[in-house]
Symmetry: C2
Subunit: 114 residues, 2 copies
DNA sequence: CGAATGCTGAGCCATGGGGCTAAGTATGGT
DNA sequence: ACCATACTTAGCCCCATGGCTCAGCATTCG
């Protein structure tokens, strides 16, 4: 598990920007064209396009061009990847709680400076 | 909801690096000192410290120094923030599915690409 | 055809990220 | 006192990120 490490880099990197999170929010409601997505943002189109490209490279969206319009649609896989990471992390945390409990109960003599 | 936007930047940025994700993984098992955390990584200490600082600034860990040893411990709040974001996103998606359903059911004449 | 629309590409700029070394400080052990 | 340990600070390097402009290209509309 979690051998997707390199993909996670991009997946999380993409989320580290409010513009991109907003785009994902918008796309949650359904597909949209580039210019439609760009409208809310006070930003030149080429700048905005970089965000789109990053979202596509990281797997958050898929795009395809028809005529002169490029349409963007959300992908679900990255969500699953994030949730998997969270679950793994949570299981570590909970495993630790278990161990801490048995540690406290059974061997209260050895102090671990961990 | 989601007015934590600036905090999310840091929270996700912190996850966009494998070293930092590994540190969080280690800390899931319990607190550790800087040098203990740094041991698995083939990296100079100052470089590693930057990761620790970023994790602390973004809220993923809390540290405190006792004597010459700085101990790091995981914080749970960022997990909650990530889960909240995921839940919001999912609700958008599902809201859309609902609408898509009624869309499919009631007006089946307009074809939507994707 | 010609103009408007919707991107796209090239290139610049400033900032920040992730790595390094070298030297400094502070504590703990002998 | 002295040395080792455990960071910490300062500064440098290179490349990536996020923004811009200006010019180009393809499609659609009149």
């Amino acid at each position: 598990m979690a051998q997707h490490s390199e993909q996670l880099n991009g997946i999380f990197q993409a989320l580290a920007d409010p513009t991109r999170r907003a785009v994902l929010g918008r796309l949650g409601k359904g597909p949209a064209s580039i210019s439609e997505l760009a409208k809310p943002f006070d930003m030149a189109l080429p700048s905005f396009m970089k965000h789109i490209q990053l979202l596509e490279e990281s797997g958050w969206i898929r795009t395809h061009k028809e005529g002169r319009v490029r349409t963007c649609a959300l992908q679900k896989k990255p969500f699953a990847a994030v949730e998997t990471w969270l679950a793994e992390q949570r299981s570590l945390w909970e495993g630790r709680t278990d161990r801490l409990e048995s540690f406290v109960t059974t061997l209260q003599k050895k102090e671990e400076p961990e």
